[in-house]
Amino acid sequence: MLHIYCPHCCEYREEEEFHVKGQAHLARPLDPDACSDKEWGEYLYFRKNPRGLHHELWVHAAGCRKFFNVTRDTVSYEIKEVYLVGEKPSVVAHSGSAK
């Protein structure tokens, strides 16, 4: 069970209080109607499945109900950082592949 620091509550809390919402930084296209089916399909369905660093969106569902981002290593489950929605991660994989 993960131990997650909520950047809004400023506390470590148990994973049971959170929901994971999948890959972070999936911006909704500003003009969906201008997207081709392929582009919309990419936005809707295609997700990264990296071995290593992964940027994820989480919500403190049974706590403050706020969303935030997590950089997590999918091999070790280590959480490298948490950061607010709208911010960029500071821990990123090198040259497109994980360590």
Binding site: M1, P32, R65
Partner: protein, 1005 residues
């Protein structure tokens, strides 16, 4: 029966407290301080079970958690049965009842043993796969036979009378294992003021110190253990847990500890006490001081009772005052096991010989053996053992210098006990639970914990230092390291002086060769619990299973409750040799939680029966119970399902409820509907983005139905949202979808459109909601309010604030039945009062309560959908014939708009929701039935959609159904056929799903 193997003095047992116990129906005696295993050995019980596959007689091999054979069935009554208890870990208590888990009809006379005796050639690895796979139709017959043959213990058939509990814990340092290393670590951290938990699986602290005659500070090691334990017990932030196995090491230093509170006292916990406790610990730092297990050597017939691990023999003598035999032969690759011969001799029994696999062993232990007059046979090994239910002799042969072959003649000696040592394996199980790969260490001749991201330290034998001095020093150092990481003082504790001896180099040897090649030699067991032999591993390698993970699965090496504690390393060494690789090249399998079996009771704790899951009740629940409602679970809600009257069948109740509503007035407790309060200057804009229809012009006092879709264009929830003020709305959702919808709104607000000023709050539980529905509902409402509720002043899809039954209410003129309806919302604590007032005034209108089932029928008569029943995530609004609820003109591209414009969403022949009228009006189609256009088509028939809703309509006098049909909206009047499982084929005609009042006149009066 006498305890023929019990010594007159010595050990940590209390000879003045005799205890009776039962094994396989016979009475025996032991003493306080015994384990079940030590008491069995004291009584000379040799055979404690039959092996899993070959049904060979087996005896006790070890003295701790690593015991593979003595896995017992415990329990004096049916309800208190516990399978899979290691006799070596079960403390003896008066009245303990135990039995062997396998052996049929009995362990001493086992029929399956004959199969095993006929020989290994009959049951090679993969025997069951190879033999019982074909023909497949016979599997059920085979399975019964195999299950019966393979004793796995039996679970109780009655409810467990005991209670269990779970506790969440937090600490600075969790120390696992209270041997010399763990005690030193805990003492250091404790003195620094850290919050410490020290857990050990045994009944008392001390670990390896309990089973030896080693001294600390020149006196019995137990004194130092007692002093340290007493000091720790006096520290307010230190928690000492004995009889507590740390079973799982999970991510982010989350560990589970299985504490057995009363298993050592009685068959059943004393009243008011939890039998076991599961501690769920989040530790800032973890110190693993789990020690090491001695490895037995692998040799011919090494499973005959009487073959034991050398250190276990010493433990039985020194800790329990039990010598498990009369004539001992020791076989060893190292100096350590010499001590077992000395312990045995000092106990007054005969040591036949020490067989040392090393060509030229030297040093103090060798000198001591010579001084004691013990025969030392160098450069040799025991290649075979005689006897079946007890060792009667051994065959010894000289070995080549590397131990790979027999190169001398065979000598036979008489003996009844064989104690072997092939070195020590660090107990790395916990260290591997979070995925860290063990690393082979040549010097240790074992695997050590690999690198980890966890905040974890190791100390003592787990780190490859098998000396007491090393364990103490490493423990203290680990304690200081943890304190330093925690920013605390790092006290230096005074370590006791130890008696160390110079150990001469050990030989790395796992498998003693036989004069015959392994495949023809007597069985050489590697993994006792799974009956895996050296020949079996070699065969698996010959058959192409090269990866150790494949060898494991093919042979079952390291499977089950044993998790390869004794056999894994030897098995890997044999596989390495067979494939011409080194052990590190071969690699190791990794371990999973749990280290030893955990009872379901401990995992469940109090989360059972009434406390299994929270229940949600509406404010009117008491009334429903008193009026005979039957309930349905909707999420965690308990909703009235229907209200049967005496003598009614369910259908009769539903018919009565449906008719009463349409003829006069019915009432539904709708409090469970999700309610979300939405405020802010951009609330209206936000609604327009998450709903498919338009919200810009909804005036204060008005209500509107909305469909909510995902980005893929598929409907996922629906409900009515009402405008309470220019910037204030209340949204209703389905009962089951409330939490999901709320999170969805927050997701879009927080991550996509944070610039919108809008706030959400769930107010589901704040309101009691009761819907009165039917032609007399207005008359009923008028009796309880002064407000003007006429159609002119309070029209359909309006809402008004008013007092009802004297309390403030929001009343919504919305309808899910198609009748004139009023949905009365009052503060939840007024709910029951208003409900009762309605019944007081409603008696003359035959006000009839109805539940979810009648609600479903009434709405289906009107063709109203239920999201999640008539939709399944693959249905968009146009598929539902609800294009009227989609506004393509809105300036913002609302959620779902782009999705429902995808090529696949606009093609012809999609499955669409239609009404279905069976040709025989009395037949009610089963929901889920699959339709076909041509019932005579060859199987598999092309399926065209399924029935989503289907009921008997008492109001219409015929059955009604809704379902998805390919191209259904363009097939009005055509026939669909539903072939059912019972062979019937039901014919139905596609029609409008609005079966009653298609113009909607009834709700507009």
């Amino acid at each position: 029966m006498t305890q023929k193997n019990r010594l007159q003095t010595g050990g940590r047992i209390n000879r003045s407290k005799p205890l009776s116990f039962v094994y396989n129906g016979k009475q025996f005696k032991g003493f306080e301080g015994d384990t079940l295993a030590s008491a069995m050995l004291a009584n000379g019980i040799d055979v404690i079970g039959r092996s899993f596959k070959y049904s060979r007689p087996r005896g006790i091999v070890a003295a701790g958690a690593e015991e593979p054979n003595a896995v017992m069935q415990l329990g004096a009554t049916e309800a208190t049965q516990v399978p899979n208890v290691r006799a070596t870990q079960q403390e003896l208590f008066d009245g303990l009842v135990s039995g062997a888990t396998n052996g049929w009809p009995s362990v001493d006379n086992d029929l399956m043993g004959i199969v095993g005796k006929v020989g290994g050639k009959m049951m090679p690895p993969g025997f069951y796969y190879k033999t019982f796979m074909y023909p497949q139709s016979m599997w059920e017959t085979y399975e019964k036979f195999i299950r019966k043959a393979a004793g796995l213990g039996s679970s109780p058939l009655e409810n467990d009378p005991d209670s269990y509990e779970k506790i969440n814990q937090h600490c600075d340092v969790l120390v696992v294992g209270a041997g010399p290393a763990g005690l030193a670590a805990a003492l250091t951290a404790g003195r620094a003021g850290a919050r410490v938990i020290l857990a050990d699986e045994q009944s008392e602290f001390g670990g390896s110190l309990l089973g030896t005659r080693e001294t600390l500070n020149g006196e019995e090691a137990a004194h130092w253990v007692a002093d340290v334990t007493a000091e720790l017990a006096g520290m307010k932030d230190v928690m000492l847990l004995s009889r507590s196995t740390v079973n799982g090491y999970h991510d982010h230093n989350f560990l589970t500890i299985h504490q057995r509170n009363t298993d050592h006292i009685a068959d059943k916990a004393p009243a008011g006490q939890a039998r076991q406790t599961l501690h769920r610990v989040r530790a800032k730092w973890v110190v693993l001081a789990t020690g090491a297990h001695e490895r037995p050597l692998v040799y011919g017939n090494n499973d005959v009772p009487g073959c034991m691990i050398a250190s276990a023999v010493s433990t039985y003598i020194n800790r329990y005052g039990v010598v498990p035999g009369n004539e001992l032969v020791v076989m060893t690759t190292n100096d350590g096991a010499y001590q077992t011969a000395f312990d045995w001799q000092d106990a007054g029994r005969k040591v036949v010989a020490i067989v040392d696999t090393r060509q030229n062993p030297q040093g103090a232990q060798v000198a001591e053996a010579s001084k004691r007059g013990i025969q030392l046979i160098k450069g040799s090994g025991i290649i075979d053992v005689a006897g079946s239910k007890r060792v009667s002799g051994v065959s010894i042969a000289a070995l080549s210098a590397d131990g790979s072959a027999v190169n001398g003649s065979v000598t036979k000696l008489s003996a009844d006990t064989v104690a072997t040592s092939g070195g020590w394996s660090p107990v790395i199980h916990l260290a591997g639970h979070t995925g860290s790969r063990p690393v082979w260490d040549e010097k240790v001749a074992g695997f050590l914990p690999g690198p980890t991201v966890e905040k974890r330290l190791i100390a003592g034998a787990i780190a490859g230092d098998f000396t007491t001095a090393g364990a103490l020093a490493q423990g203290a150092e680990a304690g200081r390291k943890a304190c330093a990481e925690l920013g605390m003082d790092q006290p230096i504790i005074e370590l006791p002086t130890t008696q160390e001896r110079v150990e001469h180099p050990a030989m790395t040897l796992f498998h003693i060769p036989h004069v015959k090649k392994t495949s023809e030699a007597p069985k050489q067991f590697v993994d006792y619990q799974n009956d895996v032999t050296a020949a079996g591993i070699e065969l698996a390698c010959r058959e192409g299973f090269e990866s150790i993970e494949h060898v494991k699965r093919y042979t079952a090496l390291g499977f089950g409750t044993d998790q390869g504690k004794l056999g894994n390393i030897a098995g890997m060494a044999i596989a390495a040799k067979a494939t011409g690789r080194t052990i590190p090249e071969t690699g190791t399998t990794i371990f999973r939680p749990n280290y030893t079996p955990v009872t379901f009771g401990a995992l469940v704790g109090r989360d059972r029966g009434e406390l299994f899951d929270p229940k949600r009740y509406t404010a009117m629940h008491k009334w429903h119970v008193e009026n005979g409602a039957l309930f349905e679970d909707v999420g965690q809600w308990k909703r009235p399902w229907y209200f049967p009257k005496a003598g009614e069948t369910m259908q009769q109740s539903l018919d009565r409820e449906c008719k009463a509503t349409r003829e006069s007035v019915g009432i539904l407790d709708a409090s469970t509907l999700g309610k979300i309060d939405i405020q802010g200057k951009d609330a209206r804009e936000f609604l327009g983005r998450v709903y498919t229809n338009a919200w810009a012009k909804l005036a204060v006092g008005k209500c509107r139905y909305g469909l909510m879709c995902g980005e893929d264009g598929m409907v996922f929830d629906d409900g009515v949202t009402s405008c309470l003020g220019e910037n204030h709305f209340i949204m209703t959702t389905t009962s089951g979808g409330a939490a999901r919808v709320y999170e969805w709104l927050e997701l879009y607000h927080q991550t996509e459109w944070p610039e919108l000023e809008v706030y959400f709050n769930t107010v589901t539980d704040h309101w009691s909601t009761m819907t009165i529905s039917g032609p007399n509902s207005r008359k009923l409402l008028e009796e309880l309010t002064d407000a003007d509720v006429s159609n002119e002043n309070f029209g359909y899809m309006d809402w008004r604030e008013m007092k009802v039954a004297g309390v403030p209410a929001r009343v919504f003129r919305i309808s899910f039945t198609g009748e004139l309806s009023f949905e009365i919302n009052v503060q939840a604590n007024f709910g029951l009062h208003v409900w009762e007032k309605l019944f007081e005034k409603g008696a003359k209108y035959n006000l009839t309560p109805y539940g979810t089932e009648t609600m479903h029928i009434l709405r289906a008569e009107k063709g109203f959908i239920i999201a999640g029943q008539d939709t399944d995530g693959s249905v968009h609004p146009y598929d539902l014939g609800m294009g009227w609820a989609v506004s393509q003109q809105k300036p913002f591209s609302f959620i779902g708009k782009r999705g429902m414009a995808r090529e696949d969403c606009v093609r012809d022949n999609r499955k669409q929701l239609v009404g279905l009228k069976t040709t025989d009006p009395s037949v009610v189609l089963p929901e889920g039935a699959q339709g076909v256009f041509d019932p005579k088509a060859p199987i598999p028939m092309p399926m065209v959609g399924h029935i989503t809703s289907s009921y008997w309509s008492a109001n219409l006098g015929h059955s009604i159904a809704m379902g998805l049909v390919k191209g259904g909206l363009d097939r009005m009047g055509e026939k669909v056929y539903y072939p059912l499982a019972d062979g019937r084929v039901v014919e139905a005609e596609i029609c409008s799903p609005i079966f009653l009042d298609p113009k909607g006149e009834r709700q507009n009066v």
